[in-house]
């Protein structure tokens, strides 16, 4: 069962090389949008504070 539960994370790790450039795009974009940690947030960027995303912007609130 554990192998079955791990199959998604295993595939992600196998795609490490392909994912790395995409993650860099995301990181650079966050800096461009002033969302990086420590950046001066605009009003709307406050929505993106991951622990404070309102209503239907909430991704999940499930306990671990």
């Amino acid at each position: 069962m554990s192998e079955e539960l791990d199959r998604v994370t295993t595939r992600i790790r196998e795609a490490h090389a392909e994912l790395t450039p995409l993650l860099k795009v995301a990181r650079d974009a966050r800096i461009g949008r002033a969302e990086a940690a420590g950046a001066d947030s605009s009003a709307v960027c406050a929505w993106n504070h991951f622990e404070n995303i309102p209503t239907f912007f909430n991704w999940n609130n499930r306990p671990r």
């Binding site: 539960l5 795609a15 490490h16 392909e18 795009v25 209503t55 909430n58 499930r62 306990p63």
Partner: protein, 356 residues
């Protein structure tokens, strides 16, 4: 304590979208200032130790009118962040002045260009699109930043590229994509071929990559998870505690976890309400949410997901309303919503990097 509370200033909506889940949207039941004062009594304590948001939702919250909305906002401390989810049709210069004066952060509901926005109808059956665009244009003229929520009813190939281009042109800073859900009074079938949904998300990722200037909620969360898996920190990603997300209805009744459950009753679960802020403080209502049988059943459902689903680390367990409206109970596991908006989202992002 929660990080935000959803408030329903009125049940009324001036649009009648075909996929809407709200049962009372044709009726104008308005929240009384007594209800907002009761909520503010606790929120004003909570905001001293953390950021806290009040989300004005509806119905269409602007249908309550500026004067009434101002009265409802008045009891909240200045540190409380106000957010408003609107169909944008009522936005004019006076409302923009109101948003600025009350520091309200606005999110508009729009499903893309007019050919994708056909579900959005006035009560007379006309397209709501011209008024929606007029309202957003007014927001932009006033220099007010905004987010957007987009419902996609038919995800598939050759949809996302045009859609993303539209939102780039619209000028929103944040975008959330909701694949249409079967919930509330919306009983439309939300089953789609997995290949179509994956193709939609893969194409969206590709379009976003070409110009990532919009914060797209689904892509951000996917890449946040992927990054954590690669860093082997994914075990720390999900919140450790349940955020109760209280929804306070117009009459002061409180429903936890899923705003979509408000206004519904069920033989086994009753009206889903935890109580009413007019008789019991909100903090008290939040103290033991698992004492409600349906919440307890929901927690069991989350644990069932954790035990069986390889996507749990990404998703954290299906939402309460999706479980209830798709399965008729809360302890089931995979829903169509899971497949459309979590599983095939992550697979679509992976398809994109694989060049599938």
């Amino acid at each position: 304590m929660p990080s935000y509370v959803v408030m329903q200033p009125t049940t009324l909506c001036n649009l009648d979208c075909s996929y809407c889940y709200l049962p009372l949207r044709a009726a104008d039941h308005r929240m009384s200032p007594e209800v907002s004062r009761a909520v503010a009594a606790d929120v004003n304590r909570w905001v001293t130790g953390q950021r806290f948001s009040v989300v004005w939702h509806g119905g269409e919250p602007m249908a309550a009118g500026r004067e009434h909305l101002a009265r409802l906002m008045e009891p909240f401390a200045p540190e409380v962040e106000h957010h408003l989810q609107t169909n944008a049709t009522l936005i004019d210069d006076a409302w923009c002045d109101f948003f600025r004066a009350h520091n309200v952060r606005v999110s508009v509901s729009i499903d893309g260009p007019e050919r994708h926005d056909e579900a959005r109808r006035t009560r007379g059956g006309l397209s709501g699109y011209p008024r929606i665009i007029k309202g957003i244009t007014t927001l932009r003229r006033h220099g007010l930043p905004f987010a957007a929520l987009c419902v996609v009813s038919s995800p598939g190939p050759a949809v996302a590229k045009d859609l993303y281009a539209f939102f780039l042109d619209l000028g929103c800073e944040v975008l959330g994509i909701n694949i249409e859900e079967r919930e509330g009074v919306n009983e439309r079938d939300n089953r789609h071929a997995a290949a179509d949904v994956r193709a939609f998300w893969a194409e969206l990722t590709s379009a976003w990559r070409d110009d990532p200037s919009i914060h797209v909620r689904e892509i951000e969360w996917s890449l946040r998870y992927v990054s954590a898996v690669l860093d082997r920190t994914d075990g720390d990603l999900l919140p450790r505690r349940l955020d109760p997300i209280p929804t306070v209805g117009y009459d002061g009744s409180v429903v936890l976890l899923s705003p979509e459950l408000a206004g519904f009753t069920h033989d086994r679960y009753g009206d889903f309400a935890s109580g009413n802020v007019l008789t019991t403080p909100l903090a008290t209502l939040l103290r033991e949410p698992a004492a409600l049988p349906w919440v307890s059943e929901f927690v069991t459902g989350v644990e069932n997901c954790r035990a069986t689903c390889p996507y749990f680390g990404f998703c954290g367990g299906g939402h309460a309303a999706n479980r209830f409206f798709e399965h008729g109970r809360f302890d089931g596991t995979e829903t169509e919503h899971c497949r459309n908006s979590k599983i095939n989202l992550l697979e679509g992002v992976l398809d994109h990097v694989r060049g599938a």
